[in-house]
Amino acid sequence: MGASYGKLMMWFFLLSDAFTFSALLITYGLVRSSHHAYSGAVEAFKFSTEYWPIPERVYESIPFFYGLEAPLVFVGIMTFILIMSSVTMVLAVEAGHRMDRPAVEKWMLWTILGGIAFLSCQAWEWTHFIHGAHEGRSVAEGTTFFGANLIQNQYGPSDFADFFFFITGFHGFHVFSGVCFNFLIYYNTVTGVYERRGHYEMVEKVGLYWHFVDLVWVFVFTFFYLV
């Protein structure tokens, strides 16, 4: 087919992975559209299990600025980090084509750093989501519930938090695997494995995986945080 076996198989793996992620995101779409949508003003929004929460009122915190309302700013930063690490990855691939080992090492390090930064952001976001903030939500027994678990959450219907955990968790695990692969590639580059082999195609293959992780985030960002 004019492409190497390894690259071809990576492409088909990514296609199957795309189906998995689509299934998750589309199930989210099904469940969300089967719930009532909130139809009032954004300022008057209150958390309730009656309707699906609007994202800009759920994700509005950033680290170190407690109580400051900054809707979607933090996920914006995360998106930016992941796009940048995709760019450094593609620069590593370009350096690999030129057999430029120091450049591959440099760009792989930046890519790994970007991946770790993204995972750290996600760890903070999960912590914040689980512990909850603001006013919480009154529950039937007359107490207030804060945060989220798989049974109930302060933001809306229990499905909402379940999808948050499953979809961002599945994506986060992909990022984690990607960081591990990237480190392996970095290690092999430093020890000169690819230089002796005569080509840097492994950088390209793992690069495909890393871009795919970025691609999935683009969709998660839209369907989970924007719509």
């Binding site: 087919m1 004019g2 492409a3 071809l8 492409w11 296609l15 795309a18 189906f19 689509s22 299934a23 589309i26 199930t27 779409g29 099904l30 469940v31 969300r32 559209s33 089967s34 719930h35 009532h36 949508a37 909130y38 609007i54 800009e56 809707p71 979607l72 914006g76 998106t79 930016f80 796009i83 940048m84 995709s86 760019v87 990855m89 593609v90 620069l91 370009e94 350096a95 084509h97 030129r98 057999m99 430029d100 080992r101 450049a103 000169g192 230089e195 002796r196 005569g198 690069g207 495909l208 871009h211 795919f212 970025d214 691609l215 683009v218 969709f219 839209t222 924007l226 719509v227």
Partner: protein, 108 residues
Amino acid sequence: MSYSEETPQVTVLPPNKEKIKQLWTVAGILGIITAIEFVIAFTMNHGPLKTSIFVALTIVKAAYIVGEFMHLRYEVKVLFWSILIPIIFIAWMLVAFVYEGMAISTVR
């Protein structure tokens, strides 16, 4: 592994300035589209129009990532189409399931 043998001579080529510039352009486009999405998120009311704009912008971003970063645009045509055609199933799944979801909401 034995390191006694001579490391093969490698010729390092100079950076491909044009290619690198093109990659940064793509990165810039992705950044700008994300910025536009942000503006829309806070200036428009929720509704079908807003959702369709977001979906359209997301597809543009996806096309740039897959086409340029993942290099699919420059691969052989057979590979290009064997990746692209199965995406039809995803589109169909999306339409069918969201339609179903809306039907459920009317009986709830």
